[in-house]
C-alpha cells in the first residue's frame, strides 16, 4: 500500500447527497477511546508537581481530547476500506455511506490543527509539540505505516495511547522529566498484554482485510509468550515512580500489589495452550483482560491520590519529591 494514498473505497450513491448528521462526525472521534485518553490526561495533570489554573487545566485536557479525536477521524478516513470489510466496523459512518471520505479527512485535519494551536497558545509550545507528535504518531506512523505491515502493531499502537498523561504532566510543569516518561512507559508496556489477552478470546476480522495481528500471524503460543514478557517488563516500570522517589509509599504499595496480581493472572495465561474456538472456556484470558483495565485505572488513580495526600501534608513527600522527578 502506498504511504500517501488511501485505498479506493466505492462511494455509495444516494446516501451522500444528504448532509451528514453531526453525530456521525462525533462518532469519528472514537468517543469510547477518548474517555481513557481524558482519564489518563487528567491523571497526568493532577499527579504533576505544581499547580495549574483550572481553566488552563481544562483547556489542556480539551486540547488533548480534540487531538485524539482528530487523529481518530484521520484513522477512520484512512481505514474506511478496511472497516467496510469487517463486521465490527462495517456500520461506521464512512463504510456505511453516511459521511463522505474527504469530509472525514478535513474534519480530522481541522480538529488536529485546532487542538495543537489551542495547546500552544493557552498552555505552551512544548506540550503542543508533544501533542502534534502524538497525532502524527497515531495517524501516520501507526495507522498508515506500521499497523498494516508488522504483527507488533499493538505494541506500536500502545505508544499513541501513552501520550496523554505525558502531555498532561508537561502542561503543568513545562518540562519533560523521568516521571512523565514513566507514565508513558506504563501505558506503553500495559497495552500489549491488555489487547493480546482480548485477542485470545475474541475473534476479529483483521486477517480477512490483511492486518497482520500477532495471534493470526505468529500463533497463540507466541502471543501467550509475548503477554508474559510484557507483563514482566511492566511490573518494574509501574513500581519505578516509587523506586526513584517520585511518589510516596502509598503509590508504592499499591503498584507492588497490583503488579504482583497482574503477574499472578498472566502466568496461567502464559502456560496454557488453549485455542480459541476449540470448545475450551477462555476464563483465564478473560480474567486477565478485565483485570488489566482495573489495573490501569487504579494505578493512575493511586498516582493522583498519592499527590493529593502529599499536597495536603497527610503523608510525607517521596524521597526525591520536589527535585528533578
Amino acid at each position: 500500500m502506498s504511504l500517501l494514498t488511501p485505498q479506493p473505497m466505492p462511494q455509495p450513491s444516494g446516501a451522500t447527497a444528504m448532509p451528514a448528521e453531526w453525530r456521525d462526525f462525533f462518532t469519528l472521534t472514537k468517543p469510547r477511546v477518548m474517555t481513557l485518553v481524558i482519564f489518563t490526561a487528567i491523571c497526568g495533570l493532577l499527579a504533576a508537581p505544581g499547580s495549574i489554573h483550572p481553566v488552563l487545566g481544562f483547556t489542556a485536557v480539551l486540547a488533548i481530547a480534540m487531538g485524539a479525536g482528530g487523529s481518530a477521524a484521520l484513522n477512520h478516513w484512512w481505514e474506511a476500506d478496511l472497516d467496510a470489510g469487517m463486521k465490527r466496523t462495517a456500520n461506521r459512518p464512512l463504510p456505511a455511506g453516511r459521511l463522505r471520505r474527504e469530509d472525514a479527512r478535513d474534519f480530522g485535519m481541522f480538529l488536529s490543527g485546532v487542538s495543537v494551536c489551542l495547546m500552544g497558545v493557552a498552555i505552551g509550545w512544548l506540550a503542543a509539540s508533544l501533542l502534534l507528535f502524538a497525532i502524527i504518531y497515531y495517524a501516520v506512523i501507526y495507522t498508515m505505516w506500521l499497523k498494516p505491515t508488522t504483527p507488533q502493531n499493538i505494541v506500536i499502537g500502545g505508544g499513541s495511547g501513552a501520550f496523554p498523561p505525558l502531555i498532561g504532566w508537561v502542561a503543568v510543569t513545562g518540562e519533560i522529566t523521568a516521571m512523565p516518561v514513566l507514565l508513558f512507559a506504563i501505558i506503553f508496556f500495559w497495552t500489549p498484554p491488555h489487547f493480546w489477552a482480548l485477542a485470545l478470546f475474541v475473534k476479529t476480522d483483521y486477517a480477512k482485510v490483511g492486518i497482520p495481528m500477532l495471534p493470526v500471524v505468529a500463533g497463540e503460543r507466541v502471543t501467550r509468550n509475548h503477554i508474559w514478557i510484557y507483563t514482566l517488563a511492566l511490573a518494574p516500570i509501574a513500581i519505578a515512580p516509587w523506586l526513584i522517589g517520585g511518589t510516596s509509599w502509598v503509590y508504592g504499595s499499591i503498584s507492588v500489589a497490583l503488579s504482583l496480581l497482574f503477574i499472578a493472572l498472566a502466568l496461567p495465561v502464559a502456560r496454557r495452550n488453549a485455542v480459541m474456538g476449540a470448545g475450551v472456556p477462555m476464563a483465564e484470558e478473560k480474567r486477565l483482560f478485565k483485570f488489566s483495565i482495573v489495573y490501569l485505572f487504579v494505578l493512575f488513580a493511586a498516582l493522583v491520590a498519592d499527590r493529593a495526600l502529599e499536597t495536603s501534608n497527610i503523608i510525607g513527600p517521596g524521597l526525591l519529591a520536589g527535585g528533578v522527578f
Binding site: 444528504m18 481553566v55 497558545v121
Partner: protein
C-alpha cells in the same frame, strides 16, 4: 428530491449549524476565560 427528503435535508443542515454555532460560542467564552486566567497568573 421529494418533500420528505427536502425536510430531512433541512433538518440535518439546521442541526449541524446549531452544533457549529454552539462550538463557536463555547470557544469565544473559552478564549475569554483563558485570557483572564493567563493575565491573572502574570
Amino acid at each position: 428530491m421529494t418533500p420528505e427528503e427536502e425536510a430531512e435535508y433541512k433538518r440535518r443542515q439546521r442541526s449541524r449549524n446549531l452544533v457549529v454555532a454552539g462550538a463557536l460560542v463555547f470557544f469565544v467564552v473559552l478564549f475569554y476565560a483563558i485570557t483572564i486566567a493567563r493575565l491573572g497568573s502574570q
